[in-house]
């Protein structure tokens, strides 16, 4: 398969970037999107050119490191997959693909398609954990958790922190990410002791990082590779307002 790539090239955070066009030739339909970029980069390196910088790590859809906006959609045209799990057979031979980094004030471009997502780390550091002493491993049924709650907590915990929700949102809001992180703890008994403090602290950190205000458009849910539901945002709002009302 052959593709024309319109790639955003930018030296660093200070310089301004621009699109550069490349040809990706003889690509296997079974190549992943990142493998396709590897092929292009190898050719460029052989010619002594600077390869396209992009983020990746596990390449199996579980770490949340990869992320490219492809033809205006974070992680590309398929639903519920990461960029690394997107395959070239999902495109048509001869397609022109526009590759851009996540665009958000809170995610400054580091280089080419790589952005700095440490704002997410700051949000987690503000409360996305449990610091109570849980003692030894309890009896299996010592702490009953309703099945539905366990399921919802697990669904929320599936968030890999990739930032596609922010990239997709017209407001560059991080609410889907924060709501997933607040929800998976709020739904379980271990998360209860610190729940009020946690939600306030995480929302405050989110606002300070320069993310926009959520207006419930749902673009995040549509692009999330882990199908994190907007239900979590409803839960986050509820948790937050309760924490404001009752301390």
């Amino acid at each position: 398969m052959n593709f024309t790539l319109n790639v955003w090239r930018q030296k660093n955070g200070q310089s301004s970037g621009q699109f550069v066009t490349y040809q990706a030739k003889d690509i296997s339909p079974d190549a992943s999107f990142l493998e396709m970029l590897d092929v292009v980069n190898n050719e460029m390196e052989a010619k002594g050119e600077e390869p396209i910088a992009f983020d990746h790590d596990c390449r199996e859809g579980i770490c949340g490191t990869c992320g490219i906006a492809i033809n205006g959609r974070p992680h590309g045209p398929r639903n519920a997959v990461t960029t690394c799990q997107l395959y070239m057979r999902n495109f048509r031979d001869g397609d022109t693909l526009t590759l851009e980094p996540w665009r958000a004030q809170a995610f400054p471009v580091v280089r080419d398609l790589v952005v700095d997502r440490s704002a997410f780390d700051k949000i987690i550091q503000a409360g996305g954990f449990i610091s109570i002493n849980t003692g030894n491993a309890p009896d299996a049924n010592g702490l009953p958790v309703p099945k539905d709650d366990a399921e919802r907590a697990m669904d929320a915990a599936a968030c890999i922190g990739c930032g596609a929700c922010v990239a997709a949102c017209k407001n560059a809001s991080a609410m889907l990410f924060v709501s997933a992180k607040v929800s998976h703890l709020a739904l379980l008994p271990q998360g209860q002791p610190e729940s009020r403090k946690r939600v306030k602290s995480m929302v405050q950190t989110m606002d300070e990082a320069g993310f926009g205000n959520c207006t419930n458009t749902g673009a995040c849910e549509a692009e999330c590779p882990k199908s994190i539901s907007l239900d979590n945002i409803a839960r986050l709002n509820r948790e937050f307002l309760l924490s404001k009302l009752f301390g």
Binding site: Q105, R152, N213, N232, L242
Partner: protein
């Protein structure tokens, strides 16, 4: 666990946190929907002719200072809703950063993306509507609000403007109605889809309910009915009390 850094100003530097700002938009939005429902209920008297409609108007106006207080409150809620929504929009534009997407294939539903556009159009409509009817030339029609309204609606330009505005209101409510419950955390997260469906139906019910009024006026043609005697007496009585 709690951050020790002193709180920096949040997005846009208002010092008010993002969820509280949205809560204000949601609460004022809910109040405005409440107003729309009562306003629509009252307006249905239009179908009852001059006796019913002018009688209703006279009874409302007989409330005197109470009505004025309610009107000022409503105007304040309206202004708060608009001002906060504009503020959020400005902040949200800034949150994208200096460089936007060259290609953007946003997957959200269109009404949710154009709330500021539909909102501004509805606000302009409200201004013209209040100017034309509440502060309209009622004396020209012998003091009959019914005659004033019906004559305005008989004018195709006015009727089409009203009908168009109500369609815009419908799209605004399509997103705004359910979205406010999401923001207020009033719905059980699991009930979100149901609430969205119900709110969409109710929202369009309100918009289309208003829409039939100009349509009715347009189809009825011009009417110059003098104020019915009963209503005239009611107005005189109110004035005597004042």
């Amino acid at each position: 666990m709690a951050t020790t850094s002193s709180p920096k100003p949040s997005v846009g530097g208002s010092g008010m946190n993002s969820i509280l700002k949205k809560t204000l938009v949601a609460l004022t939005g809910l109040a405005l929907i409440g107003f729309l429902v009562t306003h629509l209920a009252g307006n249905l008297f239009l179908f009852g002719g001059s006796t019913a409609f002018d009688g209703y108007a006279a009874r409302l106006e007989a409330m005197g200072p109470l009505l004025i207080v309610a009107e000022i409150g409503l105007a304040a809620i309206f202004v708060a809703h608009v001002v906060m929504a504009i503020k959020l929009t400005v902040e949200n534009k800034a949150a994208r950063g200096p460089q936007g997407y060259a290609v953007n294939d946003n997957q959200s539903e269109a009404p949710s993306r154009f709330m500021i556009v539909s909102g501004v159009l509805v606000a302009l409509f409200v201004i013209l509507h209040v100017k034309g009817f509440k502060f309209g030339p009622r004396e020209e029609f012998g003091g009959s609000l019914y005659a004033l309204v019906m004559n305005e609606f008989a004018n195709p330009g006015v009727a089409i403007f009203y009908i168009f505005s109500m369609l815009i209101l419908g799209t605004h409510l399509t997103h705004g109605f359910w979205s406010l419950f999401q923001t207020l955390g009033l719905i059980k997260p699991e009930k979100r889809r149901k609430v969205k469906q119900i709110c969409t139906v109710l929202g369009w019910g309100i918009a289309l309910g208003f829409l039939v009024l100009p349509l009715f006026g347009l189809l009825s043609g011009k009417k110059r009915t003098p104020l019915p005697d009963g209503v005239k007496e009611l107005i005189q009585k109110t004035e005597a009390v004042r």
